[in-house]
Symmetry: C2
Subunit: 359 residues, 2 copies
């Protein structure tokens, strides 16, 4: 049986960077992995072609696939469209549709790129955190939501509102993912909430305490979100695995990636209950450099490695890709975003070539 991968290049630099990741997958495929790669439209390009950011055809292809590799979506030309047509609705749509509730975002600082960080070397050298973010619940999808006229304590006027909400089973399933991820790493899990203010997150903390009983080998701690935002800056290496809800995870995972200074290097995985997943770089669509052939394809190539690991259990192949990326860094290849004096500046395609050679 073939392993079905749907590639969604998306917008901006998406097509350039996914092209390199696909070349890497195809190279491995020659060795009999039996990958079957198709492509589809998501985001702004889908709106342009069909009027919708997550069109029916893409939905069907996504359902049929075992894994999805995404470039990035979004760009200024779609920012003024009505809400439902904006590229990010496509991203939220596919996450929800495929039930991809577990978002795994490693924040790793490669030794060769230590200078890229805005933090002092001793604070970040060797940084290796995994952020587990719940991805299909919380205030992202909670109802009711909107803007409407209401009677308020200041008289009748418009109010904007959204709902943060988590059901017990949603918290339980992400807790299991997080504990199991911690088991495979340093066995330390820090759950982030705002239990001193939000009942929803007090509930989150209570459920985590319950699930913890199933994982006696993992040390669970809790941290308030404001403190977590501080501790990531002060001493990020104190963390092994951090887990939190969709909204706090959006903020903290981006903060954590930026600690490395090289967000162009960071992949991510978003998984359902059966390891079907969507894989994408942690960075955005960078419309300002799109089409110039200078974007860094490594986060997307590393996302392809995560894809082989998590969806297909192809650990050896995943490690081969990751080692190839380490090797090109050691060889001095750098795209513009991570370039520094004394290294060799290359474009997107040349970087792909280098990875292929290193494979």
């Amino acid at each position: 049986m073939s392993r079905k991968i749907l590639v969604l290049p998306g917008d901006g630099i998406g097509p350039e960077i996914t092209a390199e990741a696909v070349r890497v997958l195809e190279a491995l495929n020659k060795e009999g992995l039996n990958l079957e790669i198709t492509t589809g439209l998501l985001g702004g390009c889908a709106v342009d072609a069909t009027g919708e950011p997550y069109p029916a055809e893409t939905r069907a292809k996504a359902e049929a696939a075992d894994a999805v590799l995404l470039g990035a979506v979004g760009g200024p030309q779609w920012d003024t469209l009505p809400r439902e047509q904006r590229p990010e609705r496509g991203l939220l749509g596919i996450r929800k549709h495929l039930n991809l509730f577990a978002n795994l975002r490693p924040a790793i600082l490669y030794p060769e790129l230590a200078n890229a960080s805005s933090l002092k070397p001793e604070v970040v050298s060797g940084l290796d955190i995994l952020i587990v973010r719940e991805l299909t619940g919380d205030i992202y999808f909670g109802q009711p939501r909107g803007v409407e006229e209401r009677d308020t304590e200041w008289g009748r006027q418009k109010v904007g509102f959204n709902t943060m909400v988590y059901a017990e089973s949603e918290i339980r399933r992400i807790a299991h993912v997080a504990f199991q991820a911690a088991q495979k790493r340093g066995k330390k899990l820090c759950s982030v909430d705002k239990m001193n203010v939000l009942e929803c997150t007090q509930f989150w903390r209570d459920i985590f305490e319950e699930v913890a009983k199933d994982y006696p080998d993992v040390t669970l701690s809790h941290m308030l979100v404001d403190n977590a935002a501080m501790q990531l800056v002060r001493a990020p290496k104190q963390f092994d695995v951090m887990v939190t809800g969709n909204m706090f995870g959006d903020i903290l995972s981006d903060e954590a990636s930026m600690l490395t200074g090289s967000i162009g290097m960071l992949p991510s995985a978003s998984l359902d209950e059966n390891n079907k997943g969507l894989y994408e770089p942690s960075h955005g669509s960078a419309p300002d450099i799109a089409g110039k052939g200078i974007a860094n394809p490594l986060a997307t190539i590393l996302s392809a490695a995560m894809l082989l690991r998590y969806t297909f259990g192809l650990e050896a192949e995943a490690v081969r890709i990751e080692n190839a990326v380490r090797m090109v860094l050691a060889q001095g290849y750098r795209t513009a975003d991570i370039y520094e004096e004394g290294t060799r500046k290359v474009g997107t395609r040349e970087m792909g070539d280098a990875v292929l050679a290193a494979l």
Copy 2:
């Protein structure tokens, strides 16, 4: 007429650090400021004495005062109390009761303390950001909230929920505070939201665009909260004044303070419509070092300076305190939290003495 100040020492290191700030205020008072200082209970100490974190007596005193100077609240011994009795309910209670909707939190890096930051000197030297956080609305106070059984897509089960909500007039009034703060500084205002996901914050952005018309001399920009969390790490000096809602402000203002590495130096002000205000250090109650006489009183002393400036318009006296603090730093006085080799380590009281001498 006298100027009425209510001092709420609170818990942990609160009593020690407010004592030093009160000495500074009393020293200035000898010159005829006509300050009338009373004290009261808030937080854990209030729970111990009365069963409530914000007791009626404190409410009455707070209403009668023109300004409140707070130490800090909280400690592990109260963490297991029922929600309504926890110390932080006292803090949330007084903010709401006094209608202190505008929280001003400067993040300033003093040149003498540049080494304390975990960021590279070139990234943070000269850092001077003002974060304006809305403080009486948002998901902190929104209804409905709680934990209850519901029918969900996964069957009948418990769910936790909270409500993010902003009324138009709440957004307008904090917008005016933020624009006016920017006018007095670098005339750059960055409003932070998550408009691509949350209708409530799209509404926030729309109102900010409207209010901007009243301030043609201020440049307004918008940033998504995840990007803001990254940009604070990457290049914090790009910001002049940043404004956001209560929840995002909680996270981003703590992240911004920690960029300086010396959160023991950072004051804050929380103001109502008429400049009545509550002033407190940005740091917490540090129960681990309470009673040892080693806590840093400078953030509280600087909070007293903000109090004189914002509530009483005593700009000259505020500047005198701020200059005295600068001077003791230049003289090499350091409490343990900001100590480094070659400086002079002092305790809380000695630091207060040094500031008094420098006045």
